[in-house]
Amino acid sequence: MLQKQTSIRSADAVNGTYNQLAADVLARAKDCGATEADIVVADGETFSLQVRVGAVDRLTKAREKRLGLRVFVGKRSATTSTSDFSRESLERLVSETCTLAKAVVEDPVSGLPDASQMAQDWPDLDLYDGTILSTETQIEWAKRGEAAAFAADSRVTNSEGAEFDSSSGRVVLANSHGFVGSYKSSSYSLSVSPIATEPETGAMQRDAWYEVQRKFSRLASAESIGQEAARRAVRRLGARKVATKRVPVVFDQETAGSLLANLCSAVSGYGLYKRASFLLDQLGQTIASNLITVYDDGRMAGGLGSRPFDGEGLATSKNTIVERGVLKSYLLDTYSGKKLGLSSTGNASRSVGESPSVGPTNFYLLPGVKSPQDIIGSVKEGLYVTDLIGFGINMVTGDYSRGACGFWIENGELTYPVEEITIAGNLKEMFKHIEMVGSDLVFRGRIASPTVKITEMMVAGN
């Protein structure tokens, strides 16, 4: 079966598709006893360039490819992957996958989605940019970004560097129902990480700013990214601890985005059916303040989380997750959906070599009407959080305790920077006590949020 594939493979490589390879592997799996199977093939090119203090620090370039196979032998299933596409290797992989599947127990819920559910056609989501950048151009971008950070403020004295990354690739998904889909995507990003030093004490602070776009032409200027990075590093200088107290907490876009990521995990099917989420059995219930409306939209043109079909070949769509505080939908793939007695929401996420899990597409909080200044202005005494560290989140209980830094708010104004403090609460309560939502939604990744204000949290410091 795979005999054919070796000769076809070079043709595949020329026109950049792996459709025939996928078909051959699926046929081989059937011969080995698989009742159903699906295959993912991904290949791509990556380029990464780091500049530090004006000179090239690291240049990385590669092409890579990987194939992932999932087979079902009746209700038993196993998943494998390899980067070796030679005939012998693939034949061995297929047979090993079937052997593995026979070693695990039957899972009545397992299987591909129904053939009738597979995506039929899909729009071009504008995810790919064919622009090829020269090495010199990419070096230039990173150098300009870092130089702008140094030029922005004399207190920027050092740098962890600036990094320009570009990548492009293709994903092919095929299954034994006859579904074959593929799409190309690309990304371009620049990040700048300057270090600012306090002239009097020599104390250092690092911060960073970045941007990622699917199209090179949409990237903000290197200078604007470098300047913002410098502003963020310099404003942390002189940070101190504050006394332990309960106060209102305002999360900026980045840190509010992390709260939304916590919400995303809590409504993901796998945690729910394992009873490992703090939002069990809450469909149709109020889980957040009525200011909260959350969408997951897989079809946003050019979106960093967009994909025409999900990791099982189901069409993506725009789903309402939370509407004015009421939980309307979980994020599900076929398996976790069946476990919960629900249909897939088209959120199967598939990394080559693993069975599907659930992931967001473009998951975001609908912006409100208040400007961030209005929100900060509403706080008599409180905390404006700009960075969070650590993993102190218990998804089973919602208990939340993380290291934070930011600014102390007094009488509606940001006063001095603060650090070495923690903020703590419980996510169930925190979402219900979001009392203001900003108008400043910007997509900087697949999960995005405007500024939000939580009525009260415990801030621990001195």
Binding site: V105, T244, R275, N462
Partner: protein, 476 residues
């Protein structure tokens, strides 16, 4: 076993490797290497009493690197033909700005690692799938038997069998076989709508039989169940500054975050670490001596050689409170003019080498652990942790407790919910007033992330008292 690794394993001849190194070694290149890696990873996992997932992943490739001054050129390929090696070499030496191949490097002398810290038969390292399935089934039964309030058990058993060979422009050709495995168990306990989680696990560069020795796997299952049940009665954690007693073993994550990362040479060469320029200075109380030791047999963080072919060692980081040294890779040791410590590590052939920790721990002190607890009037006793993180530049670090208790009048009393602890790296160990005589290393569950690269590490700690740290609970 390690001495059997030949380039032929990767389908490459020594001559091809030599040509690629020659091609890399242009005028401005100070050092170049080729890192060949093949890795087979397998995983089985269980939930709801069923072992229903199994997976296997195979990868092979080469990472090609050229260093000129501070500059690194790096390329990798999952194809290992002569042509792919040449393309990678030409890409990597781009940073040197000089024409190709104008000098020949010494022919690498095939070298054998001087020891084998983890002699594990391949069949033992990659146990048969039915044996792994049986192991997980026994774990599920044990955890549920521990307490009927345990409602779900999630367990996974992962193995990795990695074969590497490093050919360098400084004349080394050396290989290693690096088995690694890990068992991880999470239990969910439920009672009257209160649901809590408990986790436990262990592993190392060990064979499958290790997990069954003295029913180690069942002990892990009971520990995960115990933690989940315990947390059913946990009260809200306190907030504010208080004394902290850390139990031995895994709480050594404190050292990893507070000290370890800040002493990695790259940050110090770039002077971006809160520890820059502190060599010879006091950064801890004199009861603290901390080492990074990659030579402990069968340990998760141990290596016969690092990923540049340098034998690992035991590096004293802090001696009686005084900062002694950094951990280094070849690039940083050369540029800083300091000793090479064998800490150059990479996640895979697809990633660049960085100075990384191996097993980082504090040596035993003289205090009786019970006396340490007795010395605290009101404080926190933390036994287990989730993860931690550090900001290298300002030194602020966090680590989050998953099992902790109040200490009241010298006694361990009520369990408290998880809370994040936060402190300042260069300062926190100056507040260590007592170190127990009970050094324990962790069970082999740690994975360290840096620059997006994950590598297995170990930590260890004796019972320890910190006079004050900020505890991030909710109760003021």
């Amino acid at each position: 076993m390690a001495d059997q690794v030949q380039l032929a394993t990767f389908g490459v001849t020594e001559l091809e490797a030599q040509h690629a190194l020659d091609r890399l070694s242009v005028r401005d290149v100070d050092y170049a290497d080729l890192y060949f890696e093949s890795r087979v990873s397998e995983s089985v996992s269980m939930e709801e009493g069923l072992v229903k997932r199994a997976s296997k992943s195979i990868s092979q490739g080469v990472g090609v690197r050229a260093i000129a001054g501070e500059k690194t050129g790096f390329a990798y390929s999952d194809e290992l033909t002569k042509k792919d090696l040449e393309i990678a070499a030409d890409t990597a030496r781009y940073i040197a700005n000089s024409p190709k191949g104008d000098r020949a490097v010494p022919v690498p002398a095939q070298r054998r690692p001087t020891r084998d810290l983890y002699p594990v038969e391949r069949a033992q390292a990659e146990a048969a799938t039915p044996d792994r399935v049986a192991l997980l089934n026994e774990i599920d039964a044990e955890a549920r038997r521990y307490d009927s309030r345990i409602k779900n058990v999630m367990a996974s058993f992962n193995t990795e069998y990695k074969v590497v060979a490093v050919a360098t422009s400084d004349g080394t050709l050396v290989g290693d076989v690096q088995p690694l495995s890990r068992l991880q168990i999470t239990c969910i306990a439920e009672e009257n709508g209160n649901r809590q989680v408990g986790s436990y696990g262990g592993g190392g560069r060990v064979g499958f039989e290790w997990y069954r020795e003295e029913n180690r796997h069942l002990g892990y299952a009971r520990e995960a169940a115990r933690e989940a049940i315990l947390n059913l009665s946990a009260v809200d954690a306190p907030a504010g500054v208080m004394p902290l007693v850390l139990a031995g073993g895994w709480p050594g994550i404190l050292l990893h975050e507070a000290i370890g990362h800040g002493l990695e040479a790259d940050f110090n060469r770039k002077k971006t670490s809160a520890f820059s320029n502190l060599i010879g200075k006091r950064v801890a109380s004199d009861v603290c001596t901390i080492v990074d030791d990659g030579t402990l047999p069968f340990r998760r963080g141990s290596l016969n050689m690092d990923d540049e072919g340098t034998p690992t060692g035991c590096t004293t980081l802090i001696e009686k409170g005084v900062l002694r040294g950094y951990i280094t890779d070849k690039l940083n040791a050369r540029l800083m003019g300091i000793a090479l410590t064998g800490n150059g590590r990479r996640e895979s052939y697809q990633s660049v080498v960085l100075p990384r920790m191996t097993n980082t721990f504090m040596l035993a002190g003289e205090s009786d652990p019970q006396d340490i607890v007795r010395s605290v009037k009101k404080g926190l006793y933390a036994v287990s942790f989730g993860g931690g993180q550090v900001d290298i530049t300002n030194g602020k670090f966090v680590f989050s407790a998953s099992e902790a208790y109040l200490i009241e009048d010298g006694k361990i009393t009520t369990p408290v919910k998880g809370a994040t602890l936060i402190g300042n790296g260069p300062e926190i160990l100056t507040k260590v007033s007592m170190v127990g005589h009970d050094l324990k290393l962790d069970n082999g569950i740690g994975t360290c992330g840096k620059d997006g690269q994950s590598v297995p590490v170990g930590v260890g700690l004796p019972t320890l008292k910190i006079d004050e740290i900020t505890v991030g609970g909710t109760q003021g």
